[in-house]
Symmetry: C2
Subunit: 339 residues, 2 copies
């Protein structure tokens, strides 16, 4: 692993100046003879450009960071899957951060933008605090936020419409004749938790259904927590006939508990998840889920960022990705699990 060759090494070997070497390597007009000599020397030495030196000079790293809340969450992974190829095609590398939804870590990432190791950042925060907004305003490189930010924040951002999403699901359940529709939510101090909770209430109102606190149970966005929450809800409201779950993991937990309790899905209780992750299609009964367009949001964010990196100083843009209800067996009577 000897020290690699530099343009100096090549220059010596080819008997030309480093300036000529650089020119050849960058395809600038040069005499054919020189080109040949330089190329030959470079080949023999197995020369590869030093990206760091190049970045220092050019002030571009051709790297972009993606800070996700949780490497383990399939919804973020869906974003990652879309972001990766878009960046790759544009010649950017992807630096991955997992902040575990810890505010301090997110702030850290924002702060580290000043180190200039990336040209831009895509971030998907679970909560958006004052500190976030301050750092965003002072950011030293373009940032795209996946998620909602307060009105007036001057940042490119891509948002889901979980309000409409929840409404789609509740309407669907209503059409199936369900009237005792429970909601299993995550923490209300998260952006999605708050939005989905409010949307549930609103959707019921639109249908003329009463809002019953007993039908709402707060847990966390994980399977085990979801299962626990559903257990409590079932004990309290045995006649619940549908469950709106704030994400797919919670919904899987719901399926576990319902199965154990001998309730048929969807015959006795219909279940809807959210995010339409791979797990929704894998489960049995397969899970009806509201797609919030994780993939599309990832893609849009990447494109927005690339635009900004190439383009320049236009106004911040907001892209909203519409939700879509993906109906599967957990609400489709004819094909549900027979148990």
């Amino acid at each position: 692993m000897a020290d690699g060759p530099t343009i100096n090494t090549i220059a010596e070997r080819a008997g030309v100046s480093i300036a000529s070497v650089s020119r050849v390597l960058n395809g600038l007009p040069t005499r054919q003879d020189t080109v040949r000599k330089v190329m030959a020397a470079a080949d023999e030495l197995g020369y590869v450009r030093n990206a760091v030196a190049r970045s220092l000079k050019s002030r571009r790293t051709h790297q972009v960071a993606f800070a996700m809340a949780d490497v383990g969450n399939p919804a973020y992974l869906a974003m990652l899957r879309e972001i990766q190829p878009v960046l790759k095609a544009a010649g950017y590398r992807l630096v991955l951060h997992s902040t575990d939804a810890v505010v301090a870590d997110e702030i850290d990432v924002l702060h580290s933008l000043g180190e200039r190791y990336v040209d831009g950042l895509i971030m998907s925060p679970l909560r958006v605090t004052e500190a976030h907004l301050e750092m965003l305003a002072a950011a030293r490189a373009p940032v795209v936020i996946i998620g909602s930010v307060p009105e007036g924040t001057r940042v490119d951002n891509v948002r889901a419409d979980s309000r409409t999403g929840v409404k789609l699901a509740i309407d669907h359940l209503h059409e199936l004749g369900r009237r005792r529709i429970g909601m299993i939510n995550g923490p209300l101090d998260t952006v999605p938790g708050a939005a989905r909770g409010a949307a549930y209430r609103e959707a019921l109102g639109d249908l003329g259904l009463p809002y019953d606190e007993d039908l709402v149970q707060i847990g966390d966005f994980y399977r085990a927590e979801g299962a626990r929450a559903v257990g409590e809800l079932l004990a309290r409201v045995p006649d619940v006939d549908a469950l709106m779950c704030a994400n797919d993991l919670i919904a899987l937990g719901a399926l576990d508990v319902l199965r154990a309790a001998g309730r048929r899905v969807p015959d006795d209780v219909a279940v809807v998840g959210m995010d339409d992750t791979d797990l929704a299609a894998a489960s049995w009964p397969s899970l009806t889920s509201v797609s919030l367009g994780s993939a599309e949001r990832g893609k849009a964010a990447a494109e927005l960022l690339l635009d900004r990196l190439q383009g320049g100083d236009r106004e911040p843009r907001v892209v909203t990705v519409p939700p879509r209800l993906v109906i599967r067996a957990s609400t489709r009577q004819e094909e549900g699990s027979p148990a």
Copy 2:
């Protein structure tokens, strides 16, 4: 987004030399008074070290690359989940590559090591060609391979033991009384495909069961492909009573087809997957699966690389992670799906 301050800016402001600024910033012995002045200036200016300049000088980027075959495959994502925190804890950033199992892309990644934008690389190739080995031998930075490499290759590497893994599964099926055990495999020119196919044959031999070509069907490592393969196998060998699938996605495809065909799992046909991904636990019936320790392998690889980055030139090490059979409903008679 004005140009950020540098040590020069600070030096001017504090009325000292850039050398002093650098010293203070790096905690080298300095007069208290100077320290105060520098810190004050740095604070006011909102100074952040330029990582690129620093790397150029220090020849370390504090970045490590992970090249996975496929961002969409849960087995690699499991590795990613373990690798990320290990690197983060050690102060390294993670640069993510997805090669889509294309050899040229993998070679590209290996080649780009010469650009020195990372201090090391973890790579998980699906196939290992001559070109890989050449590049590995010439690599300009430490590399850890997740997967098997030919005997004698001088590279740190972490391998699974799919041979034993398959044996565990076949033995399990045998104990359950299954005798017509089919195998649904991926392409035989991939490392895992070849290994698992051979292991299947060997495991049958150990049990004194005949190897029947009709019981083997090759497809690809995806759900739809797996389903197709299982369909063909079922048509050819209707009395098959167990399926050993080369990964979980294939196994999910198998469940789809068996369900559609009205075969009960596991009563009529037991199904075993491989990799023990999240999907295995999510499906219904939940999927018995051979864990090849994706998580452990990822962790081990990260640790091996960090060791090498800090340590130095010891002999290449090989870590083998033992497989583990995770028994779930798809082979556990009492709890299978009733259909």
